[in-house]
Amino acid sequence: MAELLQFVIAGLKSGSIYALVALGFTIVYAATGAINFAQGEFYMLGGMLGVWFVSLGLPVPVAALCAVVSAAAAGALFELAAVRPIAGGDPLRIIIVTIGGSVVLRQLALHLFGPDELTLASFTPGPSIRLFGAAIERQTLWIWALTLVAVVGLVILYRRTAFGKAMRATSLRRDAARLVGIDARAMVTASFALAAGLGALAGLAVTPLTQTAFDVGAGIGVKGFSAAILGGLGNPIAAVGGGLVLGLLESLAAGYLDPIYKDAISLIVLLAVLFLRPQGLLGGSGKEKV
């Protein structure tokens, strides 16, 4: 029983991280109809920039904020420099540009931060919390809390603010949104910034547990993408669900089958969903994207 509980805790921990990365995929997809394959690199940037700001002497909360904001700015810049110039916003061309962008970001990080793995101290150091024979790391609580804050914040942004409503309107019908005076191009930039910020938050929150390095982006990109597909691309709440389900599946497979198959789970899930239920587990008719 304690063992099962421990596996579930680990699954929800990884799942929350996948959820944040998956959210980034859905947000960009909603705005452009394209998959942003550079999403994993912003996860990497979050951790790297966090370590860098801490090394400048900033306290952890300030460094964390700076890291997320700078990563979001990098996301916006990336969109302005590489995605916007694509005439007509053809999704296929955007996808290819993001793949190229991911290589550039990775090599840039290698040269700025070096090849070695880097570490961030736990946000609140101390022993883990025991619960019915299972242990919860304090950093795991932080990951859950930050994920919750991010998701609630995103819902409020989309449902309650004029800016969020403009983003939704653009994703629903770009031309109609432009007719009522919404700057559709700015909304695409905002979606890249938001996605990068969420990815960076995930990378930052997980660094005290796993360390970070210039090359961690590709692996998490696959996981986040699988989670987004599992939930149904374009639906943020479903992306969160997809992330948590994927994390749980992996953890239980590692616990009760063989840990070697853990990475295969996300690919199996990806293929299974694409074959059997292309709209995703929680995906509806696909009309409303965000």
């Binding site: 063992e3 680990a10 840990p259």
Partner: protein, 383 residues
Amino acid sequence: MATALAVTLGGCSPKAQTVEQPAVKAEPIKIGAIVSLTGTYAGLGDPEKKTIEMEVARINEAGGINGRPVEVIFEDDATDEAKAVTAATRLIDQDGVIALIGATGSGQTMAVRGEVDRAKIPQVSLAGATAITKIFDPLVFATPWSNTIVAPFTLEALKKAGLTKVGLITDSGGFGKDGREVVKAEAAKQGIDIVSDQTFNPGDTDMTAQLTKIKNSGAQVLLMWTAGAEAATIVKSADQLGLDMPVYGSHGNARKELIDGAGPAAEGFRFAAGKILVPAAYGVDTDAYKVATDFVTRYKAAYGDAPSTFAGHAYDALYLITEAASRVQGDLTPAALRDEIEKTNGFVGIGGTFTMSPTDHNGLSVNDLTMYEVKDGTWQTVK
């Protein structure tokens, strides 16, 4: 970077960075070096390249080898087997090297064997898998301590400490897989029980499942065999999950990044490795101590940080080749060079004292190892 780009962009530039010292006017002795400057093992390949650059400059300033300067041509394999093979082909066919240093990783080292056999040039590997010298090839040598030396040494230490029920965790990559087989075979010989045998994939960020199973297996000690960044996650998680048992690792864990990454959880972590981390372990009046402290001092002066054990492997590989080259009478051919490397007898390097033979192409022994413990955020030798 130039190499990385050249490789990723289709390899249009045949020449990688070269280290040249034009002080001596004679045809240079060309040696190829395949190291991982990008990819998983970038943290290992970087100090290896720095070491070779520094030492080549030193050799050439002192007049080269028998009046000929040494030129080392670097290629980055991006921790990728296919790229390692391409690099080897290029070094052999375009640059005409007479010996190969590398690769950084075990998989890449094994991958280039076909090219080495085709060109019949000696190869000195920087990677630690037993298979490199166990699957014997007369042309292939290796400088790191092999698992067949380190595993028995470590298990003996466990037995001495009364820890006979072992929870084993290894990675599924080359080094961990090799270590797992050697540890299991050796444990059976020494009467040590592997009560839980867990594996993980390189790049895994969560080891909860494996460590929970070891926790519930009745193990008295956690033994970890991996060379990657995951080691810090394992040491940290074991502490957080409440595994109340000592944690032992291997020579793959002799990196500062583990202490930084695991923080307070690293306190008490033990692993066997060569003596370079605390050169006093050689004994302060020995030649080995002088060679090591001299190297450490020069490396620190050149690059700021203390060298890792991987830097030491590169040092040993370069000097095994150049020392052998200096002993060759007459024409310096790859075949003559190979024969001389095999005759290496009592060469005092950084990893230990090397004595090669026609059946032993590693040349190190248990005497070159010592047990370390992490204490107050640094390594100390265990008495």
